[in-house]
């Protein structure tokens, strides 16, 4: 177990370093001078040079990278060109909104996918299976922004049950936080849930066809015991992987939904950084997304050694 965990962690660190090089290179390849953008239209050469020097942009790229990555390890991702705030602070400010939305979305997704996918697999070609197929196809194909707008029109506009947009911090007003969360979480949850429903269905169908299910029935187990311990327990394995990927995607900021619902998450932060050529913020955000992806994959792999005894840890 520990050997495997250590090996996998080291692998992730190496990949993260590679990603950091790519992120740094890509951001610096993008056209546009952040110093000029920060200074506006009227400035003199001395102010320009001073800001350039203060931001370290006059150094060779390799030196800039070395400085960036060595301070990033200590949690210092530099200072925003635009606001002058530390990037770490900017990210931490956005984190609660993103975590709330991602957590609630994956919850909505699983609440849809597990029952619907399982029932569809148990009764293939039934009315419910057909309905599940249609709903998940719609969920996958309809653009998120459209779905979000429709939900706002119906539940915020006509029915007035939930606020149309905005985020209320949990620490300020738990009830308001929950209410503000419903519509964006349902929007992203429907999309992720549709993907997961298809996956649950095929995963359960495959588990149902396994020969050990017949052994379990031949033992005289009841349908519930057979389903829980010999079908769902086995179908869970591939599902964990896909759920991990979906969660990583949700945590990396769902830009479109964040904009529709004026949700102050990491996606918006990254988008604003791109528009402002705010290198430090952009680098920090992308590095964080890569980190989240690698971390979740690591967690999924370690979870696998617990769930599937065949994988030697």
């Amino acid at each position: 177990m520990t050997g495997f965990a250590l090996r996998r962690t080291l692998q992730s660190v190496v990949v993260l370093l590679g990603v950091s090089v790519a992120v740094f290179a890509l951001v610096h390849l993008v056209d546009g001078d952040p110093v000029r953008l920060a200074l506006g239209t009227r400035f003199d050469q001395a102010t320009y040079d001073a800001l350039r020097e203060r931001s370290g942009l006059d150094q060779p790229l390799a030196v800039q990278y070395a400085q960036w990555i060595s301070s990033a390890v200590t949690g210092d991702l530099g200072v925003s060109f635009r606001s002058g705030d530390p990037v770490t602070v900017l990210i931490l400010e956005r984190l609660p909104a993103t975590l709330s939305l991602a957590g609630a979305s994956i919850l909505v997704a699983l609440l849809i996918a597990l029952p619907l996918g399982t029932v569809s697999a148990l009764r293939p070609r039934s009315l419910l299976d057909g309905l599940g197929t249609v709903v998940s196809q719609v969920g996958i194909s309809v653009p998120e922004f459209w779905m979000g707008i429709m939900l706002i029109l119906l539940f915020a506009g006509t029915l007035g049950w939930f606020p149309a947009s905005g985020y209320v911090p949990l620490s300020e007003d738990p009830a308001g936080w929950a209410r503000s969360l419903v519509l964006p979480a349902v929007t992203t949850g429907l999309v992720s849930g549709s993907v997961l429903t298809r996956f649950t269905r095929s995963s359960v169908l495959e588990a149902l066809g396994a020969e050990h299910v017949r052994t379990a029935r031949a033992k005289g187990l009841g349908p519930r015991a057979v389903l829980n311990w010999h079908v769902l327990r086995n179908a869970l394995l591939p599902l964990v992987t896909v759920t991990g990927v979906q969660l990583a995607y949700l945590l990396s900021g769902v830009v479109v939904v964040e904009i529709v619902f004026a949700w102050p998450g990491l996606g918006q932060l990254a988008l604003q950084a791109v528009q402002a050529r705010d290198y430090p913020v952009l680098q920090g955000a992308v590095l964080l997304f890569a980190f989240v992806f690698l971390l979740l994959n690591l967690v999924v792999d370690l979870l696998y050694t617990k769930l599937d005894p065949r994988i030697s840890a």
Binding site: T215, A218, K219, R233, N234, R310
Partner: protein
């Protein structure tokens, strides 16, 4: 009901049978039409008796036993009667059948690599059956009994094996675990569906010996489904030869092997390599049966075997289905009488002479 009987003493043919199958029929709707997989199969199994059901793949042998325990897909149509200790399995509802499965009737499947759940421990897979049938008071007692069962089937260090996962055991050991599960309810009937097919020859022999020992000890009736005639010769008292979902010949194992009456049985035995020289010092030739078994969606009229039959008979074979009738008196290996029957218009039994010569 038969506990206490041991060895051949338990093989009396006139004892109340554990299982009596009467006119079993199984049909399945397929995209290519209705498949008649089992067509009027009748046999009985006495306590302590081993009945082998042999046939090629597709002859309906596996389906015929799955049907007994209601393990076929829901859209399968099953007809006839199957009396287990006097009660008709085919008339039972699912909850009633569940009480019989794994309790009165144990089942062993073909491939121990796939018939055990890979993510549950061996112990858990034995104890869940014991607990489901209320045979133990609780978890601790269930583990005790599971360890005892594993010891009974000859697993070394049974206590440690409880915590193992199937992939940590060899094929033969896994099949022993499957047998332990099948035996956990002290079954009156054990059904082994190609239980040795996926195993090495040496392991096969061990498993056959194990099951035969348990049968002798507990007086369990055994139905052994196989396509391997070597397995049949070693273990069975009686043989049923299945073709196209029908029984074409049955009788005591020696009678059927030494004096096969049906051209199909003769063909099957002729396709078996012989180690010893045939009569007259000649090496017996290996003969394959020409053609392939008919698809169950399109069974020929008359005798199901007639399109492949080497004995080119008259039109009657193509029109009329030959009934299963006695061809000789016959006996089991222990000497108790059992009729030797065959469904053919051509009683071509050589009477004397070796199989397939």
């Amino acid at each position: 009901m038969s506990a206490g009987r041991t060895g051949h003493a338990g093989r009396a043919g006139d004892a109340q049978p554990v299982l009596e199958v009467q006119d079993l029929r199984v049909e399945l709707d397929t995209p290519r039409g209705t498949a008649s997989i089992v067509n009027g199969l009748s046999y009985s199994v006495a306590p302590g008796e081993t009945v082998a059901v042999v046939g090629e793949s597709g002859s309906g042998k596996s389906v015929s036993v799955m049907a007994l325990l209601g393990l076929l897909p829901a859209h399968a149509r099953v007809g006839g009667r199957a009396l287990f200790r006097g009660r008709d399995l085919l008339a039972m509802g699912e909850p009633e059948l569940r009480q019989v499965r794994g309790d009165g009737i144990g089942m062993v499947f073909q491939d121990p690599m796939t018939s055990l759940n890979p993510v549950l421990t061996v112990g858990r897979q034995i104890t869940e059956g014991l607990l489901a049938h209320g045979r133990v008071a609780g978890g601790r007692q269930a583990r005790e009994r599971a360890a005892q069962l594993l010891a009974d089937v000859g697993l070394p260090d049974p206590r440690a094996a409880l915590g193992r996962f199937p992939h940590e055991l060899s094929g033969g050991m896994r099949q022993r675990v499957v047998i332990a599960i099948a035996l956990s309810g002290d079954p009156a009937l054990l059904i082994a569906d190609e239980a040795t097919t996926a195993l090495d020859v040496t392991v096969q022999a061990q498993i056959l010996e194990l099951v035969d020992g348990l049968r002798a000890e507990h007086g369990t009736g055994v139905v052994w489904i196989t396509h391997d005639l070597g397995v049949v010769a070693g273990t069975a008292d009686r043989v049923l030869v299945l073709y196209g979902g029908r029984c074409v010949e049955d009788g005591g194992v020696d009678d059927v092997f030494e004096r096969p009456a049906h051209p199909y049985t003769q063909g099957l035995l002729g396709a078996l390599p012989q180690l010893h020289d045939g009569p007259g010092g000649r090496r017996s030739e290996l003969v394959a049966i020409a053609g392939a078994p008919p698809p169950p969606t399109d069974l020929p009229p008359g005798c199901v075997f007639h399109p492949r039959c080497p004995v080119r008979g008259d039109e009657r074979c193509a029109l009329e289905q030959p009934p299963l009738v006695p061809v000789a008196l016959g006996a089991r290996p222990d000497g108790t009488a059992v009729p030797h029957r065959a469904a053919t218009f051509h009683d071509t039994a050589p009477g004397t002479g070796g199989a397939g010569s």
